[in-house]
Symmetry: C2
Subunit: 491 residues, 2 copies
Amino acid sequence: MSILTSKETDYAQWYNDLILKSGLAENSAVRGCMVIKPYGFALWENMRDELDKRFKETGHQNAYFPIFIPKSFLSKEAAHVEGFAKECAVVTHYRLKNDPDGKGVIVDPEAKLEEELIVRPTSETIIWNTYKNWIQSYRDLPILVNQWANVVRWEMRTRLFLRTAEFLWQEGHTAHATKEEAIEETEKMLDVYASFCEEYMALPVIKGVKTANERFAGAEETYCIEALMQDGKALQAGTSHFLGQNFAKAFDVKFADKDNKMEYVWATSWGVSTRLIGGLVMAHSDDQGLVLPPKIAPLHVVIVPIYSKDVAAREKIDQYAKNLVKELRSKGIRVKYDDDDTTRPGWKFAEYELKGVPVRVALGARDMEQNVAEVARRDTKEKMSLSLDNLAISIQELLDTIQQNMYNKALQYRSEHYTKVDSWEAFQEVLKTKGGFVAAHWDGTSETEEKIKELTKATIRCIPLNNPPEEGVCVFTGAPSKQRVLFAVAY
Amino acid sequence: MSILTSKETDYAQWYNDLILKSGLAENSAVRGCMVIKPYGFALWENMRDELDKRFKETGHQNAYFPIFIPKSFLSKEAAHVEGFAKECAVVTHYRLKNDPDGKGVIVDPEAKLEEELIVRPTSETIIWNTYKNWIQSYRDLPILVNQWANVVRWEMRTRLFLRTAEFLWQEGHTAHATKEEAIEETEKMLDVYASFCEEYMALPVIKGVKTANERFAGAEETYCIEALMQDGKALQAGTSHFLGQNFAKAFDVKFADKDNKMEYVWATSWGVSTRLIGGLVMAHSDDQGLVLPPKIAPLHVVIVPIYSKDVAAREKIDQYAKNLVKELRSKGIRVKYDDDDTTRPGWKFAEYELKGVPVRVALGARDMEQNVAEVARRDTKEKMSLSLDNLAISIQELLDTIQQNMYNKALQYRSEHYTKVDSWEAFQEVLKTKGGFVAAHWDGTSETEEKIKELTKATIRCIPLNNPPEEGVCVFTGAPSKQRVLFAVAY
């Protein structure tokens, strides 16, 4: 008996149940904004710390820019304002006052801002307005800056982690002297995201570029990584944008090159957000709860004592458990000994399964007499009888095995849900039955892309990098095509 | 010749020059909001990481709550809304649209929120509205949660770090079953702040409680730590509030105790902010630039080669420097070898002094022939000729010495600027001449406190904890008093 709706019955309900019951997040009193609970935030901290390390290793520094963007800044880059104007939280006043009718407080009409401020949906405009003062010559370049921040996009239909009005993210904003260097940076950060997802989140991703339709508002080229969820839908896990000179031109940011010639600066921006937590949950979890890759799990191992009435046996269990905890901690393994007497082992087993703790060790008197413990893997639900000798080492190896197995499993699922199709019938059929990525020829026009979306809900997730050239005809229009692109229904 | 206004000439100008020229922060295009530049943000990261470690060691977890607070929430606690209503950024709309006159974008009047949202000035209200759902019984308590976040208070007169419309901070919000436990938590977190400031920031602080006038809006008791700056003004470096049952009552948060009786929950909140960076700068720095305590300095050591034209000597310097870098890094020391050929050593010396790097090592051919290097301390500006043998160990010890010396120096300054006075004349005279903390008897009334502030700008910074009882008479009214309190002019 599961406390969750099963994936089979209703995937969306399963996801929502799981987020709430595992204690990752919940909806708040503010429409579309979530509360990230301690267990969910611990996931985000692990992701953030690892990403931050990788950003710093690639030469980036953190900084912090204002949360507010003057309305006029947003308008300076035409495509940018077009993309964000419809979902902006707007600050118009800076003071409340007592309601003269005595009913609480009202907005003080005399405290109206001369120019409205937008709560940042992304920070290109405020940052490029700042960079203008930081950049005079080629010696000031490159600027390699990242910001960890909250942003707000007034989404009408929200879902915990996947689409919320406020979310947490990081946004890198870099400035370069040449187009080549900016493109190199864009691609480098895409690689950082991809290897983070694969090595750390056990999440295989496909690297590619977006079509013009799906490009970031203000970008020349949007690179992305696309992951596949267990319901066959794709999820964009991160984006890295080559912004050309668009923002430099909008904010008049020029530099003197080595020949003292004034040139516009080249830009990139790149980001991942708390949305990744939604992807992590949907890619790996099951009907019993979360399944977390060890590298990201707030808790790696839980030890549960199976007490008998024999006091001596209890003491032996406690003694062994405490030593094991010490040994595991010395290996950097996050472990909890749950000797709470007020709940039964069965209840604890279910609870830690729900929380996705990768390894559970049950210590019972009878097992210990045989010099073994029962060790359960969360990913496969396999139970093993492992020797008490060198148990810490066995567990350490098991954690590595679980990390690798989760990646392999997700990769296999993706391989099974990656289908080449060459006809419109097959295209529709695959989307209807198995879902996943559909590799198909496309005539390269936005019209066809939109028509296909209308008819099937599938969008072009990306044109994969290093895509092999292949002659073919568009599945929809029959017009000639030089390569396949990846379609999928997406979150 | 300094690039900074001297402290003597104009302390406020010195501070502003220093923040700008050392690259810590700058003003942004948004009134009152600052840009925290990479060097300043690196300071904040070091402070945040250390504080976060100490919070977790005392049993706290991080979480994240919405940036927006419905206007009606703010009104639920009477003193709270009174304290914050006058400085709120208010979101009234959620969409922009194209100006029909074709001039950029305007706020879409059709996208008006039913209820205005306040950008959080502090999060008690949204958090207690959330805790209501988390707490049913005593088993759900305590809740020990902290949040790292940005907050907005619409200040009219702002100064970089010290008072900005947006700032970064952490706010702990805890819930307890008993009054005693909540008070214990309030005091525990004050101790965490105090030991962090003293051990890590080299900043001696006085622990105390605020008078009713200076209490946090909604608190029963506000504990604080007060530091002294080099101009004799005090700076509140952190606060920890015992909130009683005020927010539990405002949001109707009750729990069933062990006897199944429903009781209101007891609360605390506590915070420190980027303001601390301002305090750090003002407590230690000098006319040449920042002076940073090693524990918080983004860079501990800079090595500057003094090249001659002799190529062999250059190579010897390079070789030695690279080994030293390796050895220092293996000790966890943050070091940079600045072998940039395009700037002269003298320029580098000034630059790293401005940046407050605690130790500078100059490697010259002649010195090296004598098996020594010139090592300069930033705090005392002392230069030493140290043996190249075991130089890494000497530097490590020197960093400890600098940390301790900076604390001692600040403590000595404070001792010299802590004056007991017993007459109104002496009170005024001390404030006018030497400033600092003035320990004086006070009659305990808000009227006297306000009158003294009017006349001298000095406020009661705190009633020190463990204050010895002492009979006396109020310096201003002559009314009887049982203890001295600490007055100072404050930031």
